[in-house]
Symmetry: C2
Amino acid sequence: MNIAERLAALRAELAKMEVDGFWMPRTDEHGSEYLPPHAERVAWLTGFTGSAGVVLVLPDMAAVMSDGRYTVQLERELDPALFQRANSTLTPPSAWLAEHVRQGARIGYDPRLVRKPEREAMAKKLTAAGATLVALDRNPIDLIWHDRPARPAEPVHSHPKEYAGEEAAAKTERMGVALAKAGADQLLITAPESIAWLLNVRGADVPFNPLPLGFALLGTDGHVRLFTDRTKLAGLDLGNRVTVEDYEAFEPALDELGGRRLRLLVDPAYSAVGFADRFARAGGTVIDGEDPIPLARAMKNHVEVAGAYAAQRRDGAAMSHFLCWLTEEAVPAGTDEIEAATKLASLRAEDALFRGLSFDSISAHGPNAAQPHYRTSIDTNRRLETGSVYLIDSGGQYLDGTTDITRTIGLGQVPAYVRVQFTLVLQGMIALSQAVFPEGTSGAQLDTLARAPLWRQGFDFDHGTGHGVGSYLCVHEGPARIAKGQSLVKLQPGMILSNEPGQYVPGSHGIRTENLLVVQEAPTPPGGERKLLRFGTLTLVPIDRTMIVAAMLSADERAWLDAYHARVLAEVGPLVDERTLAWLQRACAPI
Amino acid sequence: MNIAERLAALRAELAKMEVDGFWMPRTDEHGSEYLPPHAERVAWLTGFTGSAGVVLVLPDMAAVMSDGRYTVQLERELDPALFQRANSTLTPPSAWLAEHVRQGARIGYDPRLVRKPEREAMAKKLTAAGATLVALDRNPIDLIWHDRPARPAEPVHSHPKEYAGEEAAAKTERMGVALAKAGADQLLITAPESIAWLLNVRGADVPFNPLPLGFALLGTDGHVRLFTDRTKLAGLDLGNRVTVEDYEAFEPALDELGGRRLRLLVDPAYSAVGFADRFARAGGTVIDGEDPIPLARAMKNHVEVAGAYAAQRRDGAAMSHFLCWLTEEAVPAGTDEIEAATKLASLRAEDALFRGLSFDSISAHGPNAAQPHYRTSIDTNRRLETGSVYLIDSGGQYLDGTTDITRTIGLGQVPAYVRVQFTLVLQGMIALSQAVFPEGTSGAQLDTLARAPLWRQGFDFDHGTGHGVGSYLCVHEGPARIAKGQSLVKLQPGMILSNEPGQYVPGSHGIRTENLLVVQEAPTPPGGERKLLRFGTLTLVPIDRTMIVAAMLSADERAWLDAYHARVLAEVGPLVDERTLAWLQRACAPI
């Protein structure tokens, strides 16, 4: 079937289901950002492969929407004869549906792919437009996708205390106590990263993230029912507080617990509403509340923080080796984006604790770098010519930590205004790195620090400044973020967050400089009254000095930069070969 | 009746109403902050006179809660034998009730005093605790308050285009169009400041705010039904698009419109839920949405902004006269807080356009200044002794604008650490004054700029940095704020906001420096890409140079301060007497 046939088959299936349309965000039953192949429903139906998106299908029109990161990719991947394209930030999917739906229409959705606040917003808008939202028992795409890949069932491994820093039994007990405090009997866990953290296991079912697909239910006594393919667990000892059941047994288990009139804690921000609905229909009481796991997972313990520092030193060595190779050999020899990304992956893979990349590397030259989430491909591959910049955003999964770093490298003579923009981005990055703030401060309160230098010159960037990062887990991890608006989660010691301001000029170039930071306690100056926090910088890779307009830096900013480079040299220098060391010494010289 | 007898009478009334408790926030049917005497139900029942608070009454216990500003006042004004006191930020009223309520209890509330989100949060918490929230037809306090003052009925005056900048007919038409766009037939208006703005009228029913009490309903055609005491409107021509009806006719009008199955736009953030409920019970459809008036009111037009500048010059002259008198005459002569506040009010009153104070002046010496919302009273009145600071937070209502300014004055030799704190507060104030930011930025994003200098030294302040200010209207005006967290309203040209960081040391002193700012367009520097905004400073009064540790200031901060003082001298100098001018020249000298 080609895309047009798939869309026609879906419309036929919708007609059978007696609905007039279909609404489906790009996610899976586990709320994942990175999807296993069997859950790539949006890509299968439409051809759009971006990591965020929404599909809307009506009898005579359809649309795919995503945020501003994917505007170019929507244009490139979708057939305009079949799908309208829109920026979902400017045109919410509900507004598109409300505009195009006919009075009395019934719009279907898969409740396993939609969270409660999303459903409420959509239902409200559709009701106002005279239409109705209808939960479908089965996802109609699954019924027409005949060569759909099987659900992955990769082996699950133990993530020992040596790296995790806390026994699984201690975590399940701690979370059980939090659950009891919330007045619930059971916690609904649909996110594989929560299972991985809670049980100290890692899997390989999802690209780039060491996750085992599955569901779980945690009781107040710390007992866990894990629903997953048993074959994945061969040889793994999960202890006597974990009971393993089949993946397919999960929804019947909700019926059974609901029938026993239990209270289930469901975090509407993390779990699809379909599971809570099913539990409630069976007679149980759903308590909408905060899942205690994401916050506990985000606050890395001392072992995890020490692991992060160690992983970053080794990752910094691989990156330094790569940047030395790039500037001294590869660019003069005419390398391209794909070759560069491949080389970096092979350098990272030399490390004994390396387990894979933490996301698809963004290896982007010149105008390609203007897309913040560019994906290197044969069609778009560019040679790294001088006179512009090369942006590399990449990371590794190591047993002791997850890395994520962006550096923008000037190739040959770069126009002065690009170096000015680079310097403004760097000033924002430094300002956030140096922030000192009282306990209770959220990432939303700090986001402005990374933007203010750009604002003054009439620039800004249309993405968040920072995301949480897991410990040998997801490279994008909640609940804390550094972004304007809604990220009101308080920053707490041990949280690892990225610091990645940028600047993008479509058709020309893109700039981003990204370090990972860890929240730590800071001493209160004499006479001060508040308990303070600050960031420690984890990432250890030189920032391209040739791109910096030194005259724009304050004395304070120069001091930060020189101290940072001195630390990079001291910590990474001992790990690299002689040639890289010589390059590193030059790259880390005072500005 | 004394307080104990009032509480007993309330409990008896609640028993008659067949409820087991009562929940009442301090507000009135119009959502006001400043209440007319007949609506001071919390003060009458409990004795607590703070501007924010919640009363909770159960059969054998009761509580009054307020935020951190009022901790001291709660202690001072409430009888601990009758009322528990609590910080409502730390212990939400719903949590207190949930803890103390018995299973099956029915808790009454007056739906005319509670907004929908508040009711939902309370209902959720009570349900979880096994209790029920019950809307009461009548407020039980009104039934036992036998000597309750009459509703005020002060004359309403026209606020002409000369000051308002736009005819009422243009406003009602504009708002009618916005209403139609929201899909509604009628707009519910319960806030007197919305009536005042929409109809270009001002009243005198509420202390410090030139408001006429009333309700209104606006149609999509711009027709307004105004519900108020007709006697107040004698001689006033409201034009043929306004129909006047009795105050008491408002709720029956809701029944009538509901019965006609109309759609009523209700902003849950501004109107009590009781009115929407009544309309819905009568058969109408309530549309929860954004009231277009508060945003339109906040974006002052050119006439209003010009009026603000003019009013601030004259207010600056009165303040300068006051500060000259204070330092040269009054402190040496042994003045006190009350005398100082009285003198300042009399100086402001000399202006022909002055119509009253915009709030109760905070005239606070030394430890009294440590309460951010201190109220000067005979019991707490202090002589302005040297060796500490005097804080004066005050403002005027002028026909052409509303002012609000705080200055902290050093009296004699002030300890060095107090001057350090003063300088940190000033640095935050300057940083926010100098902010340049792209269109679409919210006050929440800028709040950090005013705090960062304090944070670095281990300080912070537990109040917002800035509130909206009306144009000869309320000194506290929504919807924009500069505060952490939830103030996501975008700043737009013409908005007037305060900039008032502070520092408070209980038992010792308090510091606050406050200017009013107006949002204005800023030129984008060459090469920049975003449309930018910045603040213009409206307030024109010297900042006490003797309190500044000049060595702490950056070159940039010094330049701002010197330019500000030069402007104060140039604009205010021509309006003051010779002695004040000589003082002003010294006070405005470069640092």
